[in-house]
Symmetry: C2
Subunit: 398 residues, 2 copies
């Protein structure tokens, strides 16, 4: 779980990228902190980061890489791969245009997609041949809750993040036969300098023709700054770095989407649309007629051993409560079996759509309350074993 | 409802664009059927379309417009607006790349976004100042069910359509104060020549390194062709043209999203994510602090007059059945009041998120079954009156 990995991150000069680079290095990973303009605009931060790593004995090197320049991307990654195996890529570099959507020029629109989407394509195209050859790799795309919601006055940003979401998820399926995961992190608003000077639309005539409404983007930016000024822990950008670090450590299969901070409802969108997307993939992939296993389902067996005096009560409670809570969690099958030899022991068999659904189930307050209640009834802790649907099932296991 | 409108459509040289242009012209609208290369590559189809319109006495003119060329877009729209009021724009021009996502070059990715997303931006930027000035207008964006699902081997296409969805929906909110609607049509697979020769990835070395999996895109294309060969009515592209025509005729507020054909689950995604998005807008827009009314909710009052012998039975049935069916429809409030003067009459008060939710409710088989059952109990048909939340409510109305 906690092995050292070689991790390339883009846009590491500031904000979430910088925090994530430092967080991963502090956890013992080998961090390739890439940024553009290492020798000019970002020379200061590059030197600072290198000194910080050296002073703290962390493995981190600063790498020149501009995601908008194919040569720069290829040069950086081929040079690195000649001496380092890149295990993980974090596509973090991005810009956040803010303003009336109509007032962004076509050049500004193209520039936004160039950084936020095509830039991801350039990095993936450079690193994936190596990862596919090794049949191992993890790509974490830094999206946003703007990748799941349509936000007025952030229309261009949302458009590029929705594009990133679809690209990352489509690649998730295409790369799974190679043992590579392409997953998304979706931060809500976090305190970084992203909000201070976002690209604004250049068509001033268009802006002024919106009258009073043209004040909306500045008002929204101020509202975010006011929110950040409250120093609420949920807007601390370190949370995003920590979430990314936890995804790096996690064993596969990782959730396709992980939100951080104020989710603004996207957890619900993710949860509600997941089974629809899963059903689509189940129907679509057989048409592709290639060797492919779409099955991310997890079989879970939980064995519960009650204290003698609580056995009847406990088993009845499970019968009453579990079917509904599991159904709400998107659990596909539920079987409760009494143990053949021990009348105080029961086995639960559950199938979850994926790790994400399982995690979601265990994160629910309701589930936690049920578990807390059970605790006093049990003679030993609940034993949970899980396996992938793709794994061969043996009679010992089920 | 059925007034003649001046309608500009892009990509009218073939497929859905051509069918839609003809369908709208046949319904009596003035159609500006735009396409690129009117004098070269598309000279044949342009002449044919003009002759067809003339022979059938329809109002249709072919217009040169290349969505990837800002000058071409501006020239076409300014020339038209000098003599015609463009009431409706149908952003239809688009390409559908198909292949391994990694194997598309950055240039190919950029070209896809240039047509499918930035092209829409160019057209909107040219026409919206006129529409905003008139405080009237309708923009229909032709998306896809690929705009709501992640489809392996259509990753780049999905990415561009997700981008279009976010752009269109963000503009929907930004333009609503001007009385302009920006809405989406989401066709499933329909029989057009789009599937015959879609842009394929140019990185052949990458493709070959995918081994057997590289056959997936061709297999998928063949599966679509096989599906179309069955001539099932649900894949008839005329359905898309008819849906667009019906949206043109519909009075505002129109649904933000309308699927056509095999929805592959996107109706469910649209329905499930709609209230989350609506709640987000309710929370977000006040932060913008500009004069703005996001409220698309509809107040519905239904008055039901029972025959004397069925009054008690009917009212009990409503009490039992309606709360659940309305809740399932996303109805926010439900009040049942007996009429003060007539014990055989009841009034139902309902609030729907928007016209879409209301339509969805009435389209359900379950709702239809309930209505059919009521019919025999009623002395007069159910009276339904609706109004927007934005309208002032008077005591007469509620």
């Amino acid at each position: 779980m906690n092995e050292m990995k070689n991790i390339l991150i883009t846009g590491a000069s500031r904000g979430i990228g910088l925090l994530t680079a430092k967080t991963l290095a502090a956890k013992g990973h080998y961090v390739l902190a890439s940024m553009r303009n290492v020798n000019t605009q970002n020379a200061g931060v590059a030197a600072e980061l290198t000194q910080w790593a050296s002073a703290n004995n962390h493995n981190l090197e600063v790498v020149e890489l501009d995601v908008t320049d194919e040569d720069s991307v290829n040069r950086a990654i081929q040079t690195l791969e000649a001496r380092v195996t890149i295990d993980v890529v974090i596509n973090n570099a991005g810009i956040m245009p803010c303003g009336i959507t109509e007032a962004f020029t076509p050049e500004q629109m193209a520039a936004c997609f160039d950084v936020n989407v095509v830039g991801v394509g350039r990095v993936c195209r450079a690193v994936l041949p190596h990862m596919r050859h090794r049949k191992n790799g993890l790509i974490i795309h830094v999206s946003s809750n703007s990748g799941r919601l349509a936000m007025p006055f952030f229309g261009l940003y949302c458009s590029s993040k929705w594009a990133l979401e679809a690209l990352a998820e489509s690649m998730h399926y295409e790369l799974s036969p190679f043992g590579i995961e392409s997953i998304l992190v979706e931060p809500g608003g976090h305190e970084t300098d992203l909000i201070d000077n976002p690209p604004s639309p250049k068509d001033l005539e268009c802006i002024s023709s919106y009258g009073e409404i043209a004040e909306a983007p500045d008002n929204l930016k101020q509202a975010f700054r006011d929110m950040f000024a409250q120093k609420d822990s949920s807007t601390d950008a370190q949370n995003v770095a920590d979430k990314i670090a936890s995804l790096v450590c996690m064993s596969a299969p990782r959730p396709i989407r992980s939100s951080v901070g104020h989710d603004m409802g996207i957890d619900e969108i993710n949860r509600l649309s997941r089974p629809v997307q899963a059903n689509f993939i189940d129907a679509f992939m057989p048409l592709a007629n290639v060797p492919y296993n779409t099955d991310n389902r997890l079989f879970v067996k939980a064995t519960i051993q009650f204290k003698p005096e609580f056995a009847e009560q406990g088993i009845n409670a499970i019968k009453q409560i579990m079917p509904q809570t599991l159904q709400e969690a998107g659990c596909q099958l539920f079987t409760l079996m009494k143990d053949n030899d021990d009348q105080k022991k029961v086995h639960l068999f559950e199938i979850f759509d994926n790790q994400d659904a399982l995690d979601h189930h265990y994160e629910q307050d309701y589930t936690k309350a049920v578990f807390a209640q059970y605790e006093q009834w049990l003679s030993t802790p609940i034993e949970v074993s899980k396996m992938h649907a793709a794994s061969p099932l043996t009679s010992e296991q089920l």
